[in-house]
């Protein structure tokens, strides 16, 4: 162990420069995690350098946090400590694409946009639709399992990943899963690492399954008169034989930017919108659209085909709810049983009215996720805002779900838990963390229960 304050990272800087080159060490870090700006930022160029950096940190007792495109650093807790930030952007590139076998393998620092473009060039779909795909990376999406609107059809991130490579906190390289659809050779470590917020290791490469490009893609925009009407139409779709690609509700505050994006009639932009997307054989898509269209009470809005639908998806993924329409202080994600999303949205609207808060939200209605932006942006009273978010969290937990803060933790009172009280299974999670990272060197305190 080095003498003196272990958190004084000025001396390690020189030795890190020896490992990765002077230009790959920046002081202080270019970005902060919540209000904590690490003294150093290191940008390894490849897996070998990453391994060296992790091993060095482990030996020297330096705590490291990790980031790819830094689009989700507002998710999760404030690091318990962080001597340096490791950026994975140097580990970049599509390692392999096998269009005929429907698989793609990419290094952690590759952007989602690049993976998507490569898949599309090969006539395939990359089935991950996270926020800010131009900056978000493969590794970041793997570590957070972020999935967006088209997740209704694609499934969760865990459903489209075949295998991954990672570095354990001490720099040991490991590989799990593979490139086949089925694989039960050993524990499903791939699932353990996906969504683990980098507390068990650093993902360095992921193999995804690809989907064939559908013949047609159509997105219907249905203006809603109320949440209750949305619930009825969505229940009708889920109970039918139709298989939606997208089933998403935009709150009134969001509807304006949606309609602006599609060049739709601004008169329709006053209330809630339901977006229903279908993809597949042209005949099946046509039948799906006309079936929904024929249901009583379904008002017809714009119907977007192929490229126009793509443009709207791009707008949806560029900002969190409220990001364009109002000043947002806090963003949160509620995950609930699919049938409960409506009650959560209603509760949020009630709360916003009572507490004079601004509110925007989007409901991923097929997946049981509600993303909410809560304002105003200038927080006069953090305690009052904190009480409101805590109120909503209790409502979400009563319906069997969880509420996580995904932005603006610093606007909430000190000590506000980004994840909420952990469920009892956290004990096993702690035991796993203790074995993978006994000295708590990697992303300490970022995850559920302060893991």
């Amino acid at each position: 162990m080095p003498s003196g304050d272990r958190r004084d990272a000025s001396r390690p800087a020189g030795r890190l420069e020896q490992l990765v080159g002077a230009e790959a060490v920046v002081s202080p870090a270019s970005i902060a995690i919540h209000d904590l700006r690490p003294a150093l930022e290191v940008r390894p160029a490849d897996e070998a350098q990453l391994s060296d950096v992790l091993a060095f940190c482990n030996r020297e007792g330096l705590a490291a946090c990790t980031a790819g495109g830094a689009t989700k650093l507002g998710w999760g807790g404030r690091p318990e400590r962080c001597d340096l930030l490791i950026r994975t952007g140097g580990l970049s590139g599509i390692t392999r694409i096998d269009a005929d076998d429907l698989s793609l393998c990419a290094a952690a620092g590759t952007t989602i946009a690049e993976a998507r473009a490569r898949a599309e060039a090969a006539g395939r779909i990359f089935p991950v639709d996270p926020r800010r795909p131009g900056e978000a990376t493969i590794g970041g999406v793997g570590a957070t399992s972020d999935q967006g609107a088209r997740g209704a059809g694609y499934g969760a991130v865990r459903d489209v990943v075949l295998g991954l490579r990672a570095m354990l906190p001490d720099g040991t390289p490991v590989k799990f899963g593979g490139r086949t659809m089925k694989n039960v050779a050993g524990y499903d470590m791939t699932k353990l690492f996906l969504g683990s917020f980098g507390v068990l290791g650093v993902i360095t490469e992921i193999t995804f399954r690809l989907l064939p490009r559908p013949e047609a893609e159509t997105l219907m925009i249905v203006p809603l008169t109320s949440l209750a009407q949305g619930r009825d139409i969505v229940a009708g779709i889920l109970d039918s034989h139709l298989q939606p690609l997208v089933l998403e509700v935009a709150s009134a505050a969001e509807a304006g930017s949606v309609m602006a994006a599609v060049g739709g009639d601004p008169l329709d932009a006053g209330g809630l919108l339901l977006m229903v997307g279908f993809s597949g054989p042209r005949a099946a898509v046509r039948r799906s659209v006309s079936e929904v269209d024929s249901w009583a009470g379904v008002r017809r809005g714009p119907i977007l085909e192929d490229a126009a639908a793509e443009r709207l998806f791009a707008v949806l993924s560029e900002h969190d709810p409220g990001g364009q329409s109002l000043g947002v202080a806090v963003t949160v994600r509620a995950s609930v049983p699919v049938g409960e999303v409506w009650g959560v949205a209603e509760a949020a609207e009630d709360l916003a009215r009572r507490s004079q808060l601004e509110l925007a939200y989007r409901i991923h209605a097929a997946r049981g996720v509600v993303m909410l932006g809560i304002g105003p942006g200038e927080v006069a009273d953090p305690d009052r805002l904190g009480a409101s978010v805590a109120d909503l969290r209790r409502r979400v937990e009563r319906s069997g779900g969880r509420l996580a803060v995904t932005g603006g933790l610093a606007s909430l009172p000190p000590g506000f838990s980004p994840w909420g009280d952990p469920r009892p299974s956290v004990e096993i999670m702690r035991r796993i963390k203790e074995r993978f990272d006994p000295e708590r060197m990697l992303n300490p305190g970022r995850f559920v229960g302060g893991i």
Binding site: G155, K182, P337, R402, W419, P424, S425
Partner: protein
């Protein structure tokens, strides 16, 4: 042998008649669908989560190993109790606890036959998608432990993609829920880790399963080929064309004849291979997709493409597929069924090399494949009483797995490692990979009491001692 005092304590938990300890009774539980035998110390029938917890607590106190068991259909020895451990028999926990249509899930106990879940869901217009060939004989708890696959995985994924939450009794007897009805991502995906852990991390006592709407239309086709390689090419071509049938199942000519001998389902005896293709979904566009697939089959030399005209014809085709394993294994005293998986583009090459291997070793290979997933089940028949046959088959089997790994695949697609494939784990995992996996085992089961000697190589000595 368990002590009288311990047997009495176990009986006080589960009931007097619910603990077996006489050797003659235990023999029923000394094997599963894999060939090896190992006599358990006792068999305990459990009826509730509380009983499982109490039994586990007691065994943990005594330091006696234990293994959960459903109906013993495991083909890799995963349900064997090594070291004279206790079998915890889950079959009596076989109820559907809840069908929750608004939240698109069902809650079931682990001992239910997997087929019965869909039967219970049928009145609601829903079903549970994973359908291993043993769907009528295996329990869903076993399917969860093995991350079972089945023909419909090609479109719908494996068991893991359909399990949302689990109630688990940990190896110290504590009861805990992983996951739930929400698609929660706050926390490690312990549900994902439990599925496929072969009953070595925890005992599942209830499961929340995703349910799907029954498809509007199903279309089942049988394509007949003169040669196995042609059928392999067709599978690659269908996948490459971007078509997603619900199933793409293949069997070779030897298997077709074995099935016809046993079941007479109307498969053509002179075929070199057949492909069983099923489409499902909306009826709109399905006819076109069926024609496209038929055209690909014909372009690759299909002798005939039959379409099942009614439910009876469809059922006959599926009866043949589901009966393949029993039809083949009835032909010889012993069998070795493999479960290698390759990227689908490598399927024709894998088939060619496996056939060559069989020829060069003078072994008959019966080949059944979940071809859409690149999952091969070559089956070698032999008689262990004939000298050197067993070793020959074991050597050839290892070679098949080596071929699969060489082609970018893996050693098990759905059967699991159990005790059978412990040595083969080294083909896909190096020391670092295995060490990382053992950290997970240690976190769940620091004393190594739950189903020891499985999945992770290192405990093989225990099995050898049994032989």
């Amino acid at each position: 042998m368990l002590s009288k005092a311990l047997l009495t304590e176990l009986r006080s938990i589960v009931g007097r008649d619910e603990v077996l300890d006489r050797p003659v009774d235990l023999q029923t539980y000394e094997y599963d669908a894999y060939g090896e035998r190992s006599l358990p110390g006792a068999v305990v029938f459990v009826h509730s989560t509380a009983e499982v917890s109490a039994v586990v607590r007691l065994l943990a106190r005594e330091g006696i190993p234990f293994v959960p068991r459903g109906y013993g259909t495991n083909v890799s020895g995963g349900s064997l109790a090594l070291d004279g451990g206790v079998v915890i028999e889950m079959g009596r926990m076989d109820r559907v606890l809840e069908i929750d249509v608004p939240n698109r899930c069902a809650v079931v106990q682990p001992g239910i036959f997997t087929f019965d879940i869909s039967t219970a869901l049928e009145p609601f217009g829903y079903y549970y998608a994973p359908d291993p060939a043993s769907v009528k004989a295996s329990s869903v708890g076993g399917n969860i432990a093995e991350n079972a696959g089945g023909p419909h995985c090609f479109k719908y994924g494996v068991t893991s993609n359909h399990v949302m939450g689990l109630e688990v009794v940990l190896p110290d007897g504590e009861v805990v829920w992983f996951g739930g009805k929400d698609a929660d991502s706050s926390g490690l995906d312990l549900t994902g880790v439990l599925v496929g852990s072969e009953g070595t991390l925890g005992i599942v006592t209830a499961a929340i399963l995703r349910i799907l709407k029954t498809p509007e239309t199903v279309k089942t086709m049988l394509a007949i080929f003169a040669a196995l390689e042609e059928a392999g090419d067709v599978v690659s071509a269908i996948v490459a064309a971007g078509l997603v049938p619900a199933t793409l199942e293949m069997m070779d000519g030897l298997t077709v004849n074995a099935v016809e001998d046993a079941l007479a389902c109307g498969y053509p005896r002179d075929a070199g291979a057949v492909l069983l293709i099923e489409l499902d979904g909306l009826r709109d566009g399905m006819e076109e997709m069926a024609e496209q697939i038929a055209a690909i089959c014909r372009a690759h030399g299909a002798l005939e493409v039959r379409v099942a005209q009614d439910e009876a014809e469809r059922a006959a085709l599926w009866r043949g597929r589901q009966g393949t394993f029993s039809s083949i294994t009835a032909l010889a005293p012993n069998y070795m069924s493999l479960d290698g998986t390759v990227p689908r583009t490598r399927l024709p090459e894998a088939l060619r090399r496996v056939s060559e291997l069989g020829r060069s070793q003078g072994l008959d290979v019966y080949c059944v494949l979940h071809a859409g997933d690149g999952n091969l089940h070559p089956c070698f028949l032999y008689d262990e009483k004939v000298e050197s046959q067993k070793e020959k088959v074991e050597t050839a089997s290892m070679e098949v797995l080596r071929i699969c790994v060489e082609l970018g695949g893996t050693v098990s697609g759905e059967h699991g490692i159990g005790v059978e494939k412990l040595p083969a784990m080294h083909l896909v995992a190096d020391e670092n990979d295995l060490r990382a996996q053992s950290l997970v085992k240690e976190a769940f089961d620091p004393r190594g009491l739950l189903n020891p000697g499985k999945v992770l190589p290192g405990g093989e000595a225990a099995v050898d001692a049994q032989r």
